[in-house]
Symmetry: C2
Subunit: 520 residues, 2 copies
Amino acid sequence: MSELNGAQSLIRTLVDAGVEVCFANPGTSEMHFVAALDTVPEMRGVLALFEGVVTGAADGYARIADKPAATLLHLGPGLGNGLANLHNARRAHTPIVNVVGDHATYHKQYDAPLESDIEAVAGSLEGWVRRSEHTKDVGADAAAAVAAAQDAPGRVATLILPADASWGDGGETCAPIPPRVPQAVDATTVKDVAAVFGTGEPVALLIGGGACREEGLRAASRIAAATGAKTFVETFPSRLERGAGLPNIERLGYLAEQVAYQLDGIKHLVVAGTKAPVSFFAYPGKASDLTPESAQVHTLASVGQDVTRALNEVAELVAADIEPVLQEPSRPALPTGPLTPQNWVDVIGALLPENAIIADEANTSGLMLPAATAGAPRHDVLTLTGGAIGYGMPVATGAAVAGRDRPVLNLQSDGSALYTISALWTQARENLNVTTVLLNNRAYAILRLELQRVGAASGGPKANDLLDLSRPDMDFVKIAEGMGVPATRATTAEELAEQLQRAFAEPGPHLIDAAVPPLL
Amino acid sequence: MSELNGAQSLIRTLVDAGVEVCFANPGTSEMHFVAALDTVPEMRGVLALFEGVVTGAADGYARIADKPAATLLHLGPGLGNGLANLHNARRAHTPIVNVVGDHATYHKQYDAPLESDIEAVAGSLEGWVRRSEHTKDVGADAAAAVAAAQDAPGRVATLILPADASWGDGGETCAPIPPRVPQAVDATTVKDVAAVFGTGEPVALLIGGGACREEGLRAASRIAAATGAKTFVETFPSRLERGAGLPNIERLGYLAEQVAYQLDGIKHLVVAGTKAPVSFFAYPGKASDLTPESAQVHTLASVGQDVTRALNEVAELVAADIEPVLQEPSRPALPTGPLTPQNWVDVIGALLPENAIIADEANTSGLMLPAATAGAPRHDVLTLTGGAIGYGMPVATGAAVAGRDRPVLNLQSDGSALYTISALWTQARENLNVTTVLLNNRAYAILRLELQRVGAASGGPKANDLLDLSRPDMDFVKIAEGMGVPATRATTAEELAEQLQRAFAEPGPHLIDAAVPPLL
C-alpha cells in the first residue's frame, strides 16, 4: 500500500498532468484535500470567497495558459454557485477540472443537510462527470478527468470526490493520459470549400475557436485578400488575438440587425471552427437563424476539428502567394472632457499596454471598443462566451494568474459586477496585475434596450424601475477599497487616462469607477 | 381570446393565489414578465443584483409570511446562481415559486449561447418542475405551481416559462388551487408514542418543522413537564419562536460530541416533525447516526404530517392537567470592554427589540447566543437549514419584506458574507429594517475547527492560509456604504451597544462591522 491518501494521490496526479493551480472555496468535506496541498509544493492554491469566482478564474486561467486549472468546490451547493461561470466555460470549450467534494460514501444514506444530487447539476454541463468511490482509483480518475477536459475542443470535467475516498489510505498516482487532439479535416472538404471561394459569388468566411489565434487569423486574412470574401470572427470568441501586426478581422455583431447588415448579399457562408450564426435570444416575429436565406452554409471545420490547419490548407489552394493584411500600429488621440460612451474607449485604445489581456464584460458600454483598440499593441481579448453575466472579474483574476506579468484589463459593466464582486479580494490577496475599469452607467442598460427589442409594452414605471441601478447608486470605490483593492473615480477622459496610467504602472490590482453615461 | 398575454395571466394568477411579492433578477427572456408587472398593481417586484439574493430572500419571506413569494430567474445560469439558497429552502420546506425564463420554444433548437438544461438543474431540488409550453396553459400551470409549493410540508416549485409562452396572446388566469394540508397522525401512533413516555425509561423528544412555533413548543413543554422527558428542537429549524413567555427548548447541537452529551443515557427517542439526528458531515472513525445505540426511535409525526396536532394529542394523554413551563423575561447586563466571543451575545440579549426576527448565520461566533437571548422579548429565529452558506443576508432581506415593521437582525459571519453581499443593496433600495451585525473574525473559523475534527494533518502553512481571511482584511463598513447602507465599526461592547441601539431606532438598513475575535 502506498503512503498517500486519496487527496494526496489526486493532487500529485494533477500536478504530473500539468495542472498547477487550484482555485478553491473549500468546506468540511474538502479538508483532506486542503491539508494535502502542503504535501505537493508544485500545486498553488488560490482562495476565493465565492464559487462563481473560483470557476470563472479557472476559465480565465485556461484561456491564457492553454491548459486546465483545477477547482475545489463544496458539494452540490458549491457547484451550483459555480454553475453560471462553468456554463460560460462550456461555451468557450475551456478545459477545467472540477473537484467537487461530497459526503463520505457511507454517509450519503443519512440525507444530511448538505446532501444533494451533484451528478444532476454537473450533468447539465454536458461535459465529463465521474464519481471516484475508492481511494485507489482517485489518481486514475484524476488523470482521466484532465484528459477529458483537454480532449478537443475542451470541456468541463467534474470529478466528485467522496470524503472517505479523499482521506482513505492507499492512494495511487497515475501517469498523464494524452488527450484527444483535434481531428484533421479531410482533403475533399478542404477542396470543396476552396472551390466555393472560386465561384465568383459573394462569400463570407466565419471563423471561431482556435482560428481566433494568430495562425488562423493569418490564414483567413490570406483567403480574404485573395478572393475578396468577407471575413468575420464569431460573436463571442473564447480568446481573440488582436492589435498591431495581426490581421484585424471584424467580429460578427451581437444584434440580429447588425448581422443582417454584415452578411447582406452573400451567397455562401463558410464556417470554420464554429457554427452558423443564430440570434442570442428570440424576438417576436424575427428569425432565429441569422444566415441570410439566399446563402448556402459550408462547414470547413466543425468545433473540435483542426480548424487552423484546414484554413491553412484552403489558403494554400486559393491564396498560395498572397500575404495576410496586417494591422498597422495606430492609436486614437487622448480625448478630453466629460466621459462619454464614445470617448472612454479612445482612452483605452491610447493607453493599452504591450501584451495586455482584456477581459471584456463591458456589454453595451463597449460597442465602440474594437475600433479604438484595433491598432493598439498586440493583446488578447476574452469574451462572454455563454452570456451568463458576472464573468469579467473572475476571468480577469484567472487570466492574471496564468499571465503572470502580463497586464490584465477588466472592462466591467456595473450591472454585471455584483454577481462575483469578491473576485477583487482574491486579486488583492494574490497581488494580481488586474486593472478594472468599472463602467458605471447605473442601469441594466442592455435590458432597457432588450425591453424595447422584444416588443414588450415598455415604459411602465415598475418595469423601468427593475432595470434601474441608481436607487441607491453604488460606490465602487468604497466597495473595492473594502476588499483591499486601491480605487479611484474618473468623471473625465483626462482623469481616466491619468488613473489608468497609474494603475498600469503600479503592481497589483486597481479599480477605476468610471462615470460613463448609458449609450441609450 | 382573452386580452392577456402569457406573462399577464401568470402574474394575475399568482396574485389571486396570494403571491404578492416577486424577487427578481431578470434578463432578456423575462422582459415580458417585467413589462407585465405594470398591469398587475398588487404584485410587488423587488430587484436583486444576484440570483442567490433572489432565492434567499424568497426563502426568508415565506418563513415569515407563511406563504410563498415568486422569484424571477434568467434561464439555467440564473437558476444555477440561485441554487444554493434554494437548497437551503428545500431543507427548510419553504414554499417558493420559481419562474425561470427560457428561450422561445422554437429557438431552443438553435443552441444559442444561453441554452442549457434547466430541468436537470431544477430537478436536483426534488421539488416540482413544469415547463409551460403554451400561452393558454400558463395561468393553470402557475396555479398548480403555487399549490405544489404549499402542499405540506412545502417545497420549491419551478415553472419554466419559454419567452413565446410569455409574450403570446390568449393567456387565461386560473383560480387558486387549494394545497394539500398536513396529514393527521393516526390515533394508534399517538397512543403508542404516549405509552413510550409512560415506560419510566429515559426518553428524549425531538421536535422540528411546524412544531417549533408556539403551539408545538407548548405541547412539547407540557409533555416534558409531566414525564421528565428531555426535549430538544432540531439543530437547524426553519423558524423557531423563542423568548419570554414561550417554552425555552434547547436545540440539538451541531457537533456530534454535543449531541452525544445531550442524548446520553436515553432509551427512547421520539421524533416529531423531523428525522432522527445524523451527523452534519462524516468524520473518520465516527458514527453518522447520532441516535445512541441504546435508544429506540419512535416517529410521532414524520415531515409533512400535522406534528402540532399530534403533539397536542400526546400531551392530552400524558399531561392533561399540566401547564407548559414558560421562560421568564430576563436579559443579560450590558457588558463592557473589548468585544469577545462571549460578550457580544450579551449585547444582543440585552438589546433585542420586541418582535424581532433573527436571521442567524453567526456560525462559530454564535455558539453562546441561545443562552443570552432566551429571556429576551419574544422573537423568531431563522437558521441555516441546508448548510449552504451565504444565506443570512438574503434571508434577512426577504424576512424584512414579509415582516413589514418588524425589526430584523442579521447575525452574519464574515466567511459567509461575501457569497451574497449585494443583498445590502436591495435592503437599501427597499429601505428595509435590517440591522446586520457582521462578526468579523477574519477567518473561516469553522473550517479551522473542521480541519482538526476530520483528522486531516493540520498545521501546514498552505492549508491554514486557505482558511485565513485576513490577507487582506475586509472593511465591511466601506463595502456596506458602497452599497448604500450606513455602517459603523465596533471594537468594544459599549460601541456595539450604542451602535445597535441607534440602528434599531432609525428606519432602514444598517451594518455594524463587529471585531469579534475567533472563538478558537
